[in-house]
């Protein structure tokens, strides 16, 4: 018999309202893995990981702002809805 209680790593998490926050842990793990092979001096590893995480999150935020401007402001001007 199986019950419907949440089991980590087996059941999906119901966090649909916070999906955009999932980029933070993903970018941290990505930066740790990438810098493990690309960091020249391992004594500067932590610093390089932090900079890379900020670059990923900053880049995504800028893209989000740019697409919001295009969709909310530019597109309605180019193709106004009747």
């Amino acid at each position: 018999m199986n019950t419907l209680a949440y089991t980590p790593f087996i059941d999906a998490l119901a966090i649909h309202a916070y999906w955009y926050l999932l980029i933070i842990p993903m970018s941290i793990f990505l930066a740790i893995g990438y810098k493990s092979v690309r960091c020249m001096d391992m004594s500067k590893f932590l610093r390089e990981v932090i900079i890379f995480v900020i670059q990923i999150l900053g880049g995504l935020m800028l893209m989000a702002i740019a697409f919001t401007i295009i969709i909310v402001l530019v597109l309605p001007m180019l193709a106004p809805m009747p």
């Binding site: 018999m1 199986n2 019950t3 419907l4 209680a5 949440y6 089991t7 980590p8 790593f9 087996i10 059941d11 999906a12 998490l13 119901a14 966090i15 649909h16 999906w19 999932l22 842990p25 993903m26 941290i28 793990f29 990505l30 930066a31 740790i32 893995g33 990438y34 810098k35 493990s36 092979v37 020249m40 391992m42 590893f45």
Partner: protein, 181 residues
């Protein structure tokens, strides 16, 4: 124009890296890099499983995603084998292997696992399929996280197969391994 960095070729480290994330750098004698490579790849892999559940890896229903996830190596193969064999069952109408719906439970009819509808009393008692699959964005982000782990592991695998001598750890006999200093 700068000269290209010299590289070695280490098939043993490449094989180790293909089997488990970070193992290649351990073979190369770079334990710190191996640890961080393992944390990065397995962190993304386990994070994907945590948010999307075991359904985030599915070689039958999400075949193209699975090819990317396969770059993680043995962890993906193990999780997919468990998913296909322990969490899926046959639909008696279509005769196809699938994930369970709410209101069904997995039983064995003697030859193969099948989905059997539950009564209202059984559903009220909390019975259901062995896993709750992720839907919508959560499922996509979970699969993407594991594919990212696979792509990251490809970079780490190539670095283990053709290691950069500049990345060798500093030793007493070789205090500055940076060849291009």
């Amino acid at each position: 124009m700068s000269t290209p960095t010299p590289t070695e070729f280490n098939p043993l480290a490449g094989l180790a890296a293909a089997i488990f994330p970070g193992a290649g750098h351990l073979v190369l004698g770079r334990p710190k890099r191996a640890l961080f490579a393992c944390i990065g790849v397995m962190g993304l892999f386990l994070f994907g499983l945590l948010i999307g559940g075991i359904d985030a890896i599915d070689s039958k229903n999400d075949k193209i995603w699975y090819y990317g996830q396969l770059l993680v190596g043995t962890p993906t193969i193990i999780v997919d084998t468990i998913h296909q064999s322990q969490f899926k069952a046959y639909d008696l109408d279509t005769n196809m292997l699938r994930t369970g719906f709410p209101g069904e439970h997995r039983i064995h009819d003697g030859t193969r696992p099948i989905w059997e509808p539950l009564t209202y009393d059984e559903i009220d008692a909390g019975m259901g399929p062995p896993n709750i699959p992720g839907l919508g964005r959560i499922n996509e982000i979970a699969m993407l996280s594991i594919v990212l782990a696979g792509m990251l592991n490809l970079i780490i695998f190539l670095d283990a197969l053709m290691p950069n001598p500049n990345h060798a750890p500093k030793t007493k006999t070789n205090p500055e391994p940076e060849a291009a200093k």
